[in-house]
């Protein structure tokens, strides 16, 4: 159990690191490109590509982090109206099915990465193998799937509350104040 906990902590730290620095890198690239062009009349050709790589990485690596924090967007209109027991059942079912679907997507995106690897395609500016970038898609889906399994498990284990993520209890059972506090991480 302790080893798992350590692993979990390590993963969340890595996810947080990737999300933070992906955003910071995008800002640095876009600003750097604009300033360099304005001041030195030189446009670094890799700037756009690096930003786009960062956005792909952030998007897919963010899947599990958003799942942990219960921040995936859903159309919760009817769910919000449901009674506790039904919400509890749905939370378990949805987490399980979502996990399975994410694993299916992991499989196909891994095949895609292999395909790109075989073609040897490189990126335009950096001339870097393109599969490096796509590698983050199956990784993101896989970690997302694992996290949704954990979301299911915590809902099974703790009978007192509904969780929309392992780190987030259902807002329907909380008062407004808690939500406001969560708005700013």
């Amino acid at each position: 159990m302790k080893a798992l906990k350590l692993l979990d902590n390590a993963i969340v730290k890595i996810e947080e690191f990737i999300l933070s620095y992906a955003v910071i890198i995008i800002a640095v690239m876009v600003v750097g490109k604009a300033l360099s062009r304005a001041i030195f009349s030189y446009t670094p050709p890799f700037a756009d590509e690096v930003s786009q790589i960062a956005i792909v990485i952030a998007t897919f690596m963010g899947i599990s982090y958003a799942a942990r924090k219960g921040r995936h967007i859903s159309m919760s209109a009817f769910y919000d109206l449901a009674p506790f027991k039904l919400r509890k059942a749905l939370a378990i079912l949805i987490s399980l099915v979502t996990a399975v679907i994410l694993f299916v997507l992991t499989y196909y995106s891994a095949l895609y990465v292999q395909n790109v690897y075989q073609d040897g395609t490189v990126t335009s500016a950096l001339q870097m193998p393109k599969y490096y970038l796509y590698l983050f898609i199956p990784i993101g889906f896989f970690l997302g799937g694992v996290q949704f399994l954990r979301n299911m498990w915590i809902n099974i284990r703790d009978r007192e509350a509904v969780y929309i993520g392992t780190d987030a209890k259902d807002y329907n059972d909380q008062d407004k104040k808690d939500i406001m506090e969560e708005t700013h991480l």
Binding site: R37, S41, T43, P45, D48, T121, V122, S124, K130
Partner: protein
């Protein structure tokens, strides 16, 4: 709603009974309705249908719904679509030799002569084709969509020195950057969707495209000059998925080949009329005046001199066959006599 009847037609399977096979193929292009590639594909589909007495039905896809140009290349490779018009530029990160068409002043100034070379060149139709076929892409023909021209604001681009400190919007590939560095320009990669605004506000000062595209995308509205430089050609390839093509029966293959062949003349006229029409429109638009500049022979030579070293860059840094295809093509071009 519309049921499963729309899901027919995977990879040339028989779709109806009656007196023989029928074929449903997909033909994807990098352009939209009205532009050269799309019109090509429509005409191609029409001719195939007529020749086959309606047995061959080709759905033509315009750019947009199926993702980016490179996505479309992969879809051809996977056999999701059977036919595609693609420009070698979008495959240049996979089939490196395809970047040959980005070289400046390689082909003759005259577009008609260029098209003749594209039709007959062994370097392209055999050697380059073999490179593509390693990736399941068979280019059946090469054709020009028109020569590339420069547009600019502030500075009229007439000789290499006009490019000094000139912010030229380019693609990001090292070869294209090198091509403009050769003129001492400041190559400025800029996404297509921001280009109109960037030209309008002077974030970048110029761009390159064939005339019909300069017209279609309204770039001339926000530019002062258009230099008819013919510095290279926007070359497109009619491509098919190699395994699919090899699997066609002989009659069908012959019909495809014949149509590809006869389309060469058709598309030359099509691009010519589109480019000429837009040239007139651009010249006559008084609300957005654009001065059209023709390069003299001397000016062209000046550019060509500057552009020559880029061919070595191609040989050393791009080509995977030490520029063999380029050398052969150069010979073919010079024996075609410019």
């Amino acid at each position: 709603a519309c049921g499963g009847d729309s899901g027919n037609g995977d990879s040339g399977e028989s779709a109806d009974g009656g007196d023989g096979q029928s074929y449903n193929w997909r033909f994807v292009t990098e352009e939209v309705d009205g532009q050269v590639q799309y019109e090509y594909a429509e005409e191609f589909a029409k001719r195939m249908k007529e020749k086959s007495d309606g047995a061959v039905n080709i759905d033509v896809y315009e750019f947009g719904g199926l993702g980016s140009e490179t996505d479309q290349v992969e879809q051809l490779q996977n056999g999701a679509v059977e036919l595609a018009v693609m420009s070698p530029g979008f495959t240049g990160n996979m089939v490196k030799e395809g970047q040959i068409f980005a070289l400046h002043f390689l082909f003759p100034d005259d577009v008609e002569k260029t098209q003749e070379i594209l039709n007959t060149s062994e370097a392209l139709n055999t050697d380059l084709r073999e490179r593509y076929e390693e990736y399941s892409i068979s280019p059946l023909s090469y054709w020009t969509e028109g020569a590339m021209q420069w547009t600019s604001s502030g500075t009229a681009l007439e000789e290499p020195s006009d490019f000094q400190n000139f912010k030229m919007r380019t693609q990001t590939s090292p070869l294209i950057l090198e091509s403009y560095k050769a003129y001492d320009a400041d190559p400025t990669p800029m996404s297509w969707s921001e280009l109109y605004t960037a030209l309008d506000r002077g974030t970048v000062e110029g761009q390159e495209n064939p005339i019909f595209f300069i017209g279609d995308a309204s770039f001339y509205e926000v530019q002062d000059y258009m230099t008819v430089s013919n510095h290279n050609n926007y070359v497109a390839m009619t491509t098919v998925n190699t395994e699919w093509y090899e699997g066609l029966n002989d009659d069908m293959k012959a019909m495809v080949d014949e149509t590809v062949e006869e389309m060469q003349e058709w598309v030359f006229e099509e691009q010519k009329s589109q480019n000429e029409e837009w040239l007139e429109t651009i010249k006559n638009d008084e609300e957005n005046p654009t001065e059209v500049i023709e390069l003299t022979k001397e000016q062209r030579e000046m550019f060509k001199d500057k552009a020559m070293p880029v061919r070595d860059f191609y040989r050393e840094n791009v080509s995977t066959v030490d520029g063999e295809i380029l050398d052969k093509l150069q010979e073919e071009i010079s024996s075609a006599g410019e």
